[in-house]
């Protein structure tokens, strides 16, 4: 196999990104089309999920594959935004290419006498470095301060109660991007009902991770029926039929077993020596007696249902039928683990031969009956006194399996999204000393231009119960900010000790400023090109907990984040508003910026941001995008309420995240460019 090394040109990267973008552009937005994927097994899947579509392409080119890997890591964390990511990346690369081809006058006239090649590389490196600090120094403050005015929240005025209509709007906006056009409202309603049913009377922050983890067990798919037959059922649906069914009413005691009740003469891996016929007869008799005694013990303890992880012997079935015990066999390990989690019991162990004491590890089932869906029969069971979550099961119906799978994935993603919605994110503070700050002295100055921000949180002020919330759809903000922080960490060493002065500011922090720093390192370390230690500081402020956990970090101690925070539940209008706003503020910033190169690059990013709303508006009339743009900017200039009749709302942190990811991506490309451009074509054969 021959490996070849070729010089990497920006043009090729831009072309690749734009072809990837053209694949997903058709699926972008609520009126986007679906993509049909075939697996190597012949299975047919439907998807509008950008990540899945791009991964199915199985591309040859290593740079394209790298783009897709970065997209995957982004999606694994955030759960959405893949198409926007790739569209932005492609636009960003194209713009930078144009910049490259265009006038180099801005950059480093002093180096003209050098080799033009090296100069180009140097310029790209500058761009790359700029982008890395761009996010923290410029984007974060802009979002939190300027755009913060436009945020809305899913919480009601009192602060802890959820405003149901806004949650619904958030879900609707999510499903608009994930499922087919005529099913968005229906799926949204289903998700909304499911969400409120499972989190009824339980702690949201506990329930949502559980739903996320056990989602495969909490849903069933049925083919051959129309989508409108999908429904939510109380309790769990186990994907097995009853092995033994004894109909009866009322509550039943449930026992979980993962071992065989009827033991056999010899076990796998053991040797049994039988010396005579009578010994054999006696052993057989003993085994049967033991099984009978065990089953009698179960009957004495009034066990009504036996949930077994393995197949039990016929003798066990016979005894169970006689004692009125129902048996469900061959449950998967995940189902057993979910049931144990919900009911807080552990499996019964018949091998302990403990028939004297009472069986305590039982749960109570309010009902346990067969359920016929489509052509198959399942077991429908509900438990009383559940601890972690109130189990509800979704049944997805559809004409084909691929559609059901798409709906199930969208549902799962919606819950991941909701999980993130209810967390607060503090943006990493931009520190005073930076490794690459020598080119951007103004960046620090700019930071100090926002002194008021240093000490205060950006609050979400706008009331949520106003009319505009009712008419629109919301996406939450958390995502964007999160991605913002984490992807920056590739190059940016945030592991700086804060100067001592900050401790004074700590006292100014209000009492309820407690934060938890979870470990979120795993996500982007893989995509770290330069091998620098990155350090994530995403602090989640929980209004209830006091615990402070610090992320291990070899250089610093607890980082206080006193500024730039996006509170849990922040949402914003969707449909490109975020991008237009950011574009507006960035352009304003660029205009007032002293350094010409930063200004140029800011304008570049600002222009790139507009590709997203343009793509979203492409299905409407021609003049839709310019109209929208005009509306937004004039409202901003006149300091008016932004688009009171806006129909769609979207999330701030989401977009930010995406932009920073794409910025990082673009910057990595430059990194690649400088590294590989030093090599020329080599041929090595094995």
């Amino acid at each position: 196999m021959a490996t070849s090394v070729t010089g990497l040109e920006l043009r090729r990267l831009a072309e690749e990104a734009s072809s990837l973008a053209s694949v997903v552009r058709g699926s972008l937005g609520p009126q986007g089309g679906q993509v049909l994927l075939t697996r190597p097994t012949g299975e047919i899947l439907l998807s509008r999920d950008g990540e899945r579509v791009l991964r199915a392409l199985n591309l040859d080119s290593p740079t394209a594959r790298m783009m897709i890997t970065c997209l995957s890591t982004h999606c694994n964390l955030v759960g959405d935004g893949a198409k926007t990511f790739i569209v932005l990346l492609s636009a960003l690369l194209q713009e930078i290419e144009k910049l490259d081809k265009g006038s180099n006058a801005y950059f480093f006239k002093t180096h003209r006498e050098r080799n033009k090649y090296k100069e180009k590389g140097y310029m790209m490196k500058q761009v790359s470095q700029f982008l890395s600090v761009f996010q923290v120094e410029i984007l974060d403050p802009l979002v939190t301060q300027k755009l913060g005015k436009h945020f809305q929240t899913v919480f009601s005025a009192s602060g802890t109660e959820l405003n149901r209509t806004t949650v619904k709007l958030v879900l609707e906006a999510y499903f608009c991007g994930k499922v087919g056009y005529n099913r968005q409202k229906y799926m949204c309603q289903l998700a909304y009902n499911f969400f409120f049913k499972t989190t009824a009377e339980k702690d949201r922050n506990e329930v949502l991770p559980l739903v996320d983890k056990y989602f495969p067990e909490l849903h069933t798919t049925v083919t051959g029926l129309p989508v409108s037959h999908s429904q939510i059922l109380d309790g769990l649906v186990l994907l097995r039929d009853f092995a033994v069914y004894c109909p009866s009413d009322g509550d039943k005691k449930v026992l979980i077993i993962t071992e065989p009740i009827h033991s056999s003469l010899s076990q796998l891996g053991t040797e049994v020596a039988i010396s005579g016929e009578s010994q054999y007869e006696a052993s057989e008799l003993w085994i049967t007696k033991r099984t009978k005694a065990l089953m009698k013990h179960l009957q004495d303890n009034n066990i009504g249902v036996l949930l077994s992880g393995i197949k039990q012997h016929e003798i066990v079935h016979y005894c169970a039928k006689n004692s009125g015990i129902c048996i469900v066999e061959c449950l998967s390990r995940e189902e057993i683990s979910l049931i144990c989690k919900i009911t807080n019991i552990s499996p019964f162990q018949p091998s302990l031969d403990n028939i004297c004491t009472e069986i305590t590890e039982t749960a109570i089932a309010t009902f346990c009956q067969p359920l016929q869906i489509g052509t198959k029969r399942f077991v429908h069971i509900n438990f009383a006194r559940t601890c972690a979550l109130q189990p509800c099961c979704v049944v997805f119906c559809g004409p084909v399996h691929g559609l059901n799978e798409q709906h199930a994935c969208a549902f799962h993603g919606a819950f991941k999204m909701l999980q993130h919605l209810f967390t607060t994110i503090h943006l990493a503070e931009c520190c005073n000393s930076k490794p690459q700050s020598q080119n951007f002295p103004n960046a620090v100055d700019n930071l100090q231009q926002y002194p008021a921000v240093q000490q205060r949180f950006v609050e979400m002020q706008i009331d949520c119960d106003s009319d505009e919330a009712d008419t629109g759809e919301l996406k939450h903000c958390e995502f964007k900010m999160k991605v913002l922080s984490e992807s920056e960490d590739d190059l940016l060493a945030l592991s700086q000790k804060y100067p001592k002065e900050d401790t004074a500011s700590e006292n100014a922090i209000s009492e309820d400023d407690q934060f938890v720093c979870p470990g979120l390192k795993d996500k982007n370390s893989s995509s770290n090109v330069h091998g620098q230690q990155f350090n994530e500081e995403i602090c989640i402020r929980s209004s209830h907990t006091v615990s402070i956990k610090c992320e291990e970090n070899n250089k610093t101690d607890i980082h206080r984040h006193t500024n730039f925070c996006i509170k849990a539940g922040s949402v914003m209008p969707v449909g490109g508003i975020f991008e237009i706003l950011l574009n507006y503020y960035l352009s304003c910033y660029a205009k007032q910026c002293q350094l010409p190169d930063i200004s140029v690059l800011c304008t570049l990013v600002a222009d790139v941001l507009l590709t997203v709303p343009k793509a979203l508006c492409r299905t409407q009339k021609r003049s839709a995008f310019p109209q929208l743009y005009l509306e937004v900017t004039s409202a901003l200039r006149n300091d008016q309420q932004l688009l009171p009749k806006q129909k769609y709302l979207e999330s701030v942190s989401y977009s930010l995240r995406i932009y920073s990811s794409s910025a990082t991506e673009a910057k990595k490309r430059k990194g690649l460019h400088t590294v590989s451009s030093a090599k020329h074509i080599l041929q090595t054969s094995l």
Partner: protein, 570 residues
């Protein structure tokens, strides 16, 4: 494979529905399903190129199961039809034809797929609401106290499968048999946990269809040698025959001893132990006065001999599928192990007879309450038999569905025409609010409604394979034979209406289907008198047709929404 292989890049197609290959494939598929539809449908022969099983059929389940489709869009379509058939067994071709028509019509229009999908969903909801409403003109209530409508329903299904090659008399006979079998499966005792019984089909080929019969209870095939010199069977005091049922293997081998290793010294014979146990069981059985001994698996020959000497009928190797029916009709509990033999596990039979049909021998187990019945189905050759069995199973399933939703729809294309004129009538004037909800214009709405209705009409028109035309009037639609000279008077040529209920009356105004007349509210053909007086009504299953309609529109929406196809080439 543990080897890591380089993956081939996938094949991508954008805007698949605009591509020539797919359009061609879809039109071929549509022609194929259209030509199979109805009692005069053309048969299709399925075979692979290397000499495998050959099947002649016109039914959707056999047809689609035997086709090997490669294009992913077509695969999606056929998978959708097959999923519907798995659930409802009927109206598969209806669904396929309707879906293909919708796709074809949409491509002819200059409307964005989004708008088409929205509007067709709205029209579908109009249809479904109409079908569920009281004033629906195409459905009839099923009165189970009389056998007329269920019999007509079964007959419609049997006669719509031309590959069975049944004459009218044979079709009648089979329909009566199927209905009789279905009635057997309804249990006598009503309790809360009732389930319908089963119908087992016994194949007998190379015989006349009229020789088919229904036997209440089970027919178990046995080798001929067992039935010579069978003595009278022992009965207990109440005249019933006691029966024991074993689910374990009585072959005397030591198979049930776990997965480990058993070490036996020389001179120890465990098989002898097991045989002694078996003979003990035999003695116990004789003492208990059991008349029939049934085992799911093999019976040891020594035990069989012993039982024969003691005049007990032994039936071995009945297999797992018959265990459930045996349990149900006799009330016997399958015994899992020799230590569990007890009088309480015995079941009861009313009678046991022997039968011989076409050189096969059967034991006929007759229970008290025959919820399980066996249908001895005869047909001339194998391929016709397969078709007939499929048709009978479809009819049985349809009867079960009708039991749950006691409605039938008028068949012969009437329901489609009726729905089509209803939609045309309802969409002739549309409120502005609806247009706003759907965010489309009046013209677009009209175009899509027209496409929807003509798709429905095309389904009805596909029933006719001889090139005839259809003309409609206020009540029904009438078929006209082809090649009619334009000047002649049609009223002489039209003699039969689509639903079979209407008579040719004077004064009815007919017009051709394709000409655009003003829409009218459709009147129902269903009147009490006409229903009871007409013989041989053509009826359709309500639940299956309704679901077929819904799933067809959904599948069409799904396919129209595709913007890209990525095929993995590995």
């Amino acid at each position: 494979m543990s080897r890591v292989d380089l993956k081939k890049p996938s094949l991508c197609t954008s805007e698949p529905l605009a591509k020539e290959t797919l359009c061609h494939a879809l039109s071929v598929f549509a022609k194929m399903v259209r030509s199979c539809y109805g009692p005069t449908g053309r048969l299709k022969q399925l075979h692979n190129g290397v000499g495998g099983y050959v099947r002649t059929t016109s039914q959707a389940s056999a047809l689609l199961g035997g086709l090997s489709v490669t294009h992913p869009v077509l695969k999606l379509l056929t998978a959708s039809v097959q999923n519907h058939l798995a659930r409802f067994s009927d109206c598969g071709l209806f669904m396929a034809i309707f879906c293909c028509s919708l796709l074809e019509k949409c491509q002819g229009l200059n409307i964005t797929p989004c708008t088409f999908i929205k509007i067709s969903q709205h029209l579908l909801s109009l249809c479904i609401d109409y079908l569920a409403s009281e004033t629906c003109g195409c459905r009839m209530q099923v009165d189970f106290s009389s056998s007329k409508i269920p019999l007509d329903l079964v007959r419609s299904i049997i006669t719509s499968k031309p590959a069975c090659r049944l004459s009218r008399m044979e079709a009648n006979h089979i329909s009566i048999l199927v209905l009789e079998a279905f009635l057997f499966t309804i249990p006598h005792n009503i309790n809360t946990q009732m389930t319908l019984g089963k119908c087992l089909y016994i194949p007998v080929k190379n015989k006349q269809v009229l020789d088919s019969a229904v036997y209440p209870g089970l027919l178990i095939e046995v080798p001929e040698v067992d039935l010579r010199n069978t003595p009278p069977i022992k009965r207990d005091t109440s005249g019933m025959i006691k029966m024991v049922l074993f689910s374990m293997s009585l072959s005397g081998d030591l198979s049930d001893n776990g997965e480990g290793v058993i070490v036996i010294p020389h001179g120890v014979y465990l098989e002898a132990v097991v045989l002694a146990q078996l003979l003990n069981v035999g003695k116990q059985i004789v003492k208990d006065g059991v008349g029939v001994f049934v085992c799911q698996k093999v019976i040891h020959p020594a035990l069989q001999q012993y039982l024969k000497e003691n005049h007990i009928v032994a039936i071995e190797r009945v297999g797992l599928p018959l265990m459930e029916p045996l349990k149900e009709i006799t009330g016997a509990q399958p015994i899992p192990s020799l230590q569990f033999l007890s009088p309480a596990c015995c079941g009861h039979l009313k009678d046991l007879q022997t039968l011989s049909i076409a050189s096969k021998w059967f034991f006929h187990l007759i229970p008290n309450d025959p919820v399980v019945c066996s249908v001895m189905l005869c047909n001339r050759n194998e391929t016709a038999w397969d078709e007939l069995k499929l048709a009978c199973q479809t009819a049985e399933h349809v009867l079960q569905l009708t039991l749950r939703d006691p409605w039938v729809l008028l068949g012969g294309g009437y329901t489609e025409m009726h729905l089509s004129s209803y939609i045309r009538h309802m969409t002739s004037t549309v409120e502005g609010s609806i247009l706003e909800d759907l965010s489309c214009s009046w013209a677009e709405f009209r175009m899509v409604a027209d496409a929807f209705c003509s798709s429905l009409e095309s389904v009805a028109c596909s029933l006719d394979h001889d090139g005839g035309n259809i003309c409609t009037d206020v009540k029904c639609f009438w078929s006209v034979p082809p090649d009619v000279p334009s000047r002649s008077d049609w009223s002489d040529l039209i003699w039969k209406c689509g639903c079979g209920l209407c008579n040719k009356e004077q004064g009815l105004h007919w017009r051709m289907l394709q000409c655009c007349a003003s829409p009218f509210p459709p009147q129902s053909c269903v009147h009490e008198s006409s229903v009871t007086s007409t013989n041989n009504l053509i009826l359709d299953c309500f639940a299956a047709k309704k679901n077929g309609l819904q799933v067809a529109v959904e599948t069409a929406s799904l396919l129209l929404d595709l913007s890209y196809i990525i095929e993995d080439q590995n």
